[in-house]
Symmetry: C2
Subunit: 212 residues, 2 copies
DNA sequence: AGCGAACCCAAACCTTTGTTTAAGGGTAAT
DNA sequence: ATTACCCTTAAACAAAGGTTTGGGTTCGCT
């Protein structure tokens, strides 16, 4: 393996972002993840995290709910708005059940009371990274379809959706006020650009982006 | 509205099943739900519930986690095995965060510490009933498709899946070792019995049952 | 002004699908 | 044994889809 490849691999390995205002916690977790050969980075506040972290990267966030400025739920919303879907594991020293329920409903993958054992944290992180991987996989599939759709002209897009509805060429022609011949040509372009050979496959790709 | 219709409506209204070994809690919740014009029934143990309750009915379950015999998670599994998908709201007098996380991960819609206010419980129940309604709606759609599939002969089913894959008649004929003519006839039956007029609609119905 | 892109149409041809009608063989239940 | 259902095929036609070739307009950008 050459060096360039190695760097790419390193930067695309999942990373664990630790956000806690307690230096002791940060160091302990950093050491724990490093000892497991996992990449990790620490931040002393949510704002520090939002400034410095690459929130699009594969991995997860381990975060104390009680933080100066932003609370956990606000932080989740903030991340979501910023376009990140990184799974979040909350830690808490004083948390109660209602807070736990809110966090879990909002999509947290775990909620861990302090103090915790290494194994509990590691299991939570492994699970979160697995979840992230699955999300990324389906997001990538949708992204691939979307990039194909981007290559279509507006008219081709219209024809595609009509075809996916199950309409016949002559019906599409009527809907769009053009001739059946023109529909056929657009349709051919659609099949080629969308990289499908059957209407069935086209329908599946269209459904994939419509449900997203 | 005649009487028969009214009865049907009454028995299909959502019901709240309360399971708690504390008579005081049962009575208080029963009164609360009754006062809101909601249907409710109480049980003093999980086994009592499993014997007497109609677990296929629309509604939800409000359940104390600490019960003789079955704990909350076992109860969830038991219900699932018995074919029920009723949303569960847990109540607890002594619960901790890990228990809350386990329950939420297992699909509980809420986890409420005792004591609680009426409003908290009512909000949780309303949410659970809404969730149940949505689940039932999509389950009904899948069930409708499945009942159509039941009317297909084995051969027709095979042809349907091959068509949904996007194969041409002659390819299907080769796969099944029959002539193209026969495929066409099966295909016609499929379209008629599945109540669709286009391959696009057929693909959508097939996808609906394949993802379930 | 020229260029490219998107959009439009037509003739001709071929392939695929849809439909009708008629009919034979197998199997399982009454 | 009769009935019913499923699976199979053929001939022949109608309808829809796919492809190629060639040509046209408009619009925006350089």
């Amino acid at each position: 393996m050459n060096n360039a490849t190695k760097i790419v691999q390193e930067t695309s390995d999942p990373i664990v972002y630790v956000v806690d205002d307690d230096l002791g916690v940060r160091d302990a977790l950093l050491e724990l993840f490093m000892s497991m050969k996992m990449k990790a980075a620490t931040f002393d506040s949510p704002s520090d995290f939002l400034e410095r972290a690459d929130i699009k990267r594969a991995g997860c966030i381990v975060l104390d709910v009680r933080m100066p400025g932003l609370n956990g739920l606000d932080f989740q919303n903030h991340l979501d708005t910023a376009g990140s879907k990184m799974p979040i594991i909350f830690m808490t020293g004083y948390g109660d059940i209602p807070m736990t329920v809110r966090a879990m409903k909002a999509g947290a993958t775990d909620f861990i009371p302090k103090p915790f054992s290494d194994n509990v944290m590691l299991a939570a992180v492994e699970n979160a990274i697995r979840v992230d991987g699955e999300r990324r996989k389906s997001a990538a599939a949708i992204g691939a379809v979307n990039s194909l759709v981007q290559t279509l002209t507006p008219r081709e897009r219209e024809v595609m959706f009509e075809v996916a509805k199950g309409l016949m060429n002559k019906q599409i022609a009527f809907e769009l006020g053009i001739t059946e011949m023109t529909v056929k040509l657009h349709r051919m372009s659609v099949m080629r650009k969308m990289e499908v050979r059957s209407v069935a496959d086209l329908v599946r790709k269209v459904e994939q982006i419509r449900e997203a």
